[in-house]
C-alpha cells in the first residue's frame, strides 16, 4: 500500500485572533504553527495502515519554507518521505493548490508507481475551502468521499464510513486507487516518540518550487466578526456560589424548584 497524505501549515491561534495592521493576515509573531486536527488524523491513519499491512507513506505540503516543520512532525509520527511544494509565502487559492498537488502526484507516480490511497483533511483549518481533496481526485479521475470517520483498507478497495446525522452512518466502498478526506475522530493520534523526532530531523525533504498563480478566489482582506456579547457577570467566587447558581438556573427556566 502506497499512501500520500496532504497537510497544510496553519498558525496555532488560541483564545483571541490578532490581525496584522494591514488586515491581510493573522499576526503570527507570538504563535506556533500546526496542521488541522483532521490532517493529524490523516497522518495517523496512513501510519496505522502501513504498520498493519506494509507499504510506504509520503507526506506533502504546499507552503513556505518553514512548512518543513509540519512535514517533520508527520515524519516523527512514522511517515517515511516528505515533499515540500515551496512557496514565497503568498496565499494560494484552492484551484491553484489542487493543480500544484496534482502535478507533483503525477511526477511522483511516474517515478515511483501509483499512490493507492491519497488522504486529505476534510477542510483546511484556516481557509476552510472544502474542496482541494475533491479537485485532486477529479483531476486524477479517482473516486473520493469526504468527511470519513472510519476506514477499512482491503486488497482492492476501501470501505469508508461517515456520520449521516442523528447517530446514523453512511458507508461507501471505493476501488483503489482512491482518495479519501478524513475528519478528526477517525482515530486518536499518537504522540511522537523521542527517537521518532530524532529520526525525522535527519530525514531528507524533497523540494519543488511551483509558480504562484491566481485561481479565481482572491482574498481582499480579513476582519474579526462583530460579536454582540458583553462581559460575563461574575456570580460569585468558589463553592459559595452554588446557591446563586441554582437561583439563576431557576430564573432562566433550566430547573424547576
Amino acid at each position: 500500500m502506497n499512501i500520500l497524505v496532504c497537510v497544510k501549515r496553519v498558525p496555532q491561534t488560541g483564545g483571541r485572533i490578532v490581525l496584522t495592521p494591514d488586515g491581510q493576515d493573522i499576526d503570527t509573531r507570538y504563535l506556533g504553527f500546526t496542521v488541522s486536527p483532521h490532517e493529524e488524523c490523516a497522518v495517523e491513519e496512513a501510519v496505522r495502515i502501513v504498520e498493519k499491512q506494509g507499504g510506504s507513506t509520503t507526506v506533502l505540503t504546499l507552503g513556505p519554507a518553514a512548512a518543513e516543520d509540519q512535514l517533520r512532525d508527520a515524519m516523527a509520527l512514522g511517515i517515511e518521505r516528505a515533499i515540500l511544494l515551496e512557496t514565497d509565502g503568498r496565499e494560494w487559492d484552492p484551484v491553484a493548490t489542487a493543480e500544484a498537488i496534482v502535478s507533483v502526484v503525477r511526477s511522483e507516480e511516474a517515478a515511483n508507481g501509483p499512490f493507492d490511497l491519497i488522504l486529505f483533511g476534510n477542510e483546511s483549518a484556516d481557509t476552510g475551502g472544502y474542496q482541494v481533496g475533491v479537485r485532486v481526485a477529479v483531476a486524477l479521475d479517482r473516486p473520493i468521499v469526504t468527511g470519513i470517520k472510519s476506514l477499512e483498507v482491503g486488497e482492492r478497495s476501501v470501505v469508508a464510513r461517515r456520520d449521516a446525522g442523528g447517530g446514523a452512518w453512511e458507508s461507501f466502498e471505493l476501488d483503489l486507487p482512491t482518495v479519501v478526506s478524513v475528519k478528526e475522530g477517525i482515530n486518536l493520534p499518537r504522540y511522537p516518540s523521542v527517537p521518532g523526532r530524532l529520526r525525522a530531523k535527519r530525514k531528507e525533504v524533497a523540494r519543488v518550487s511551483p509558480e504562484w498563480r491566481a485561481g479565481g478566489l482572491e482574498k481582499i482582506g480579513l476582519r474579526l466578526p462583530q460579536e454582540e456579547r458583553s462581559a460575563a457577570e461574575v456570580i460569585d467566587q468558589g463553592p459559595d456560589a452554588a446557591g446563586a447558581v441554582v437561583d439563576l438556573l431557576v430564573r432562566i427556566g433550566v430547573v424547576r424548584q
Binding site: 452512518w169 466502498e173 460575563a232 463553592p239 438556573l249
Partner: protein, 322 residues
C-alpha cells in the same frame, strides 16, 4: 452577471430543510430570478421563496448520498440553462457537491459565504475562515459563480411576493461511472440518551478537569439537569472522552439554552462550536480566561469544589430539570 441563480435544495421527505431555505433566502439577494434543483420531491413548497422554476432530476438513483452522480447531473443542468450563480447550503453534503461540480467545470468555488454582491463580472463576497472565527473579504471569479452559504449566516425568510414555480422534470444522462462509489445500506443510530446536538443544557469539561475520572462530577450535575456532557479538544485528545463529545471547529456545533463550560479556556476553535448557545456559564479559576468574553455568567474558582456544590444544592432543594 446575467442569468438565474440556481439553488440546490435538499428536501428530505419532500420538506426543504432549513439550510436550503437559508440558501434560497440568500440567493434572492443576488441579481436574477431564483431557480431550484431538487433530487426528489418538494418543488411545490418553494413558491414561498420566490422560486420561478424548479428543476427536478428524475432519476431515483440520485436520492442517496451520491455526490459524483449528483454533480454530473448539476453540471448538465448548468450547461443547459446556464445560470449566473449556483448556490448550495454550506453543509457537509452541500460543500461536497459544489466542490465536485466546481472541479468538473474547472471553475473556482467559495465555501461558507455570509454575504455577496455582484460587481461587474466578479462577485464580491464575505466568507468564513477558521470555522467562523474570522471573516474574509474576497473576489470570486468564474462562470457561473459557485458558492455555498454558511449555516445560519442568514435567516430563512419567505419572500414578500410568493410565486407558483413551474416544475420542470429534468432527465440527466448518467453513466455507471458516476456511481462507481458504491453506497452501502445506512447503519441506523445505536446511541441512546440525550444527544449533544439536541440537548437543551450541555455541561462541558476542559483541561481544568485534570483527569477523565473527574468527569463523574460533570456527569452528576448533568443528570440532575437533564443535560448532555461534552468537552474541549484537550479532553478528547487525552482520551478522557470520545471524540464524539468534542465541541468546536473540528467537533460538534451545539446550540443549547445553557452551556456550562467548566475548566475550558475558550480558544476560538472551541467558541465557534458553542457560541450559538443562548447563555453560557463559565466556571474557571482564571477571571481573565478568553471564555469570559463570550460567557454571560461566571463563577471564579476551582471547578472540583464548585460543580459538586451546585449538584448538592440542587439535591437539597429537590429541584428538577425544567
Amino acid at each position: 452577471m446575467t442569468g438565474a441563480v440556481l439553488v440546490v435544495v435538499d428536501a428530505p421527505g419532500g420538506e426543504p430543510d432549513r439550510l436550503s431555505l437559508e440558501a434560497l433566502t440568500f440567493a434572492r439577494g443576488l441579481h436574477g430570478p431564483v431557480e431550484a434543483l431538487l433530487f426528489g420531491p418538494g418543488a411545490e413548497k418553494l413558491g414561498a421563496f420566490e422560486v420561478s422554476t424548479a428543476h427536478v432530476a428524475s432519476d431515483a438513483r440520485l436520492a442517496g448520498p451520491v455526490p459524483e452522480a449528483r454533480a454530473a447531473a448539476l453540471v448538465q443542468l448548468i450547461r443547459e440553462t446556464p445560470p449566473s450563480a449556483v448556490v448550495a447550503a454550506g453543509s457537509e453534503p452541500g460543500n461536497e457537491l459544489l466542490a465536485h461540480a466546481a472541479a468538473r467545470l474547472g471553475q473556482p468555488m467559495a465555501a461558507n459565504v455570509v454575504s455577496a454582491s455582484p460587481e461587474g463580472d466578479r462577485l464580491r463576497l464575505v466568507r468564513q475562515r477558521w470555522g467562523g472565527s474570522l471573516l474574509e473579504d474576497a473576489w470570486l471569479d468564474g462562470s457561473p459563480k459557485l458558492l455555498t452559504v454558511a449555516p445560519h449566516a442568514v435567516t430563512a425568510e419567505p419572500a414578500s411576493s410568493p410565486t407558483s414555480p413551474s416544475v420542470v422534470p429534468f432527465q440527466p444522462t448518467l453513466s455507471d461511472r458516476d456511481f462507481r462509489v458504491r453506497v452501502r445500506p445506512v447503519e441506523a443510530a445505536t446511541t441512546s440518551g440525550i444527544s449533544l446536538s439536541d440537548a437543551r443544557v450541555v455541561v462541558g469539561g476542559g483541561r481544568g478537569l485534570g483527569s477523565g475520572e473527574a468527569f463523574s462530577e460533570l456527569e452528576e450535575l448533568a443528570s440532575l439537569l437533564g443535560a448532555a456532557v461534552g468537552g474541549s479538544r484537550v479532553v478528547t485528545s487525552a482520551g478522557w472522552r470520545p471524540h464524539s463529545d468534542q465541541i468546536g471547529q473540528t467537533g460538534l456545533r451545539i446550540a443549547p439554552d445553557l452551556y456550562i463550560a467548566c475548566g475550558i479556556s475558550g480558544a476560538i476553535q472551541h467558541i465557534v462550536g458553542c457560541k450559538a448557545a443562548k447563555r453560557i456559564l463559565a466556571i474557571n479559576t482564571d477571571p481573565d480566561a478568553p471564555i469570559m468574553d463570550v460567557a454571560d455568567y461566571a463563577v471564579i474558582g476551582d471547578l472540583h469544589a464548585i460543580v459538586p456544590a451546585i449538584s448538592a444544592e440542587l439535591r437539597r432543594r429537590g429541584s428538577a430539570a425544567g
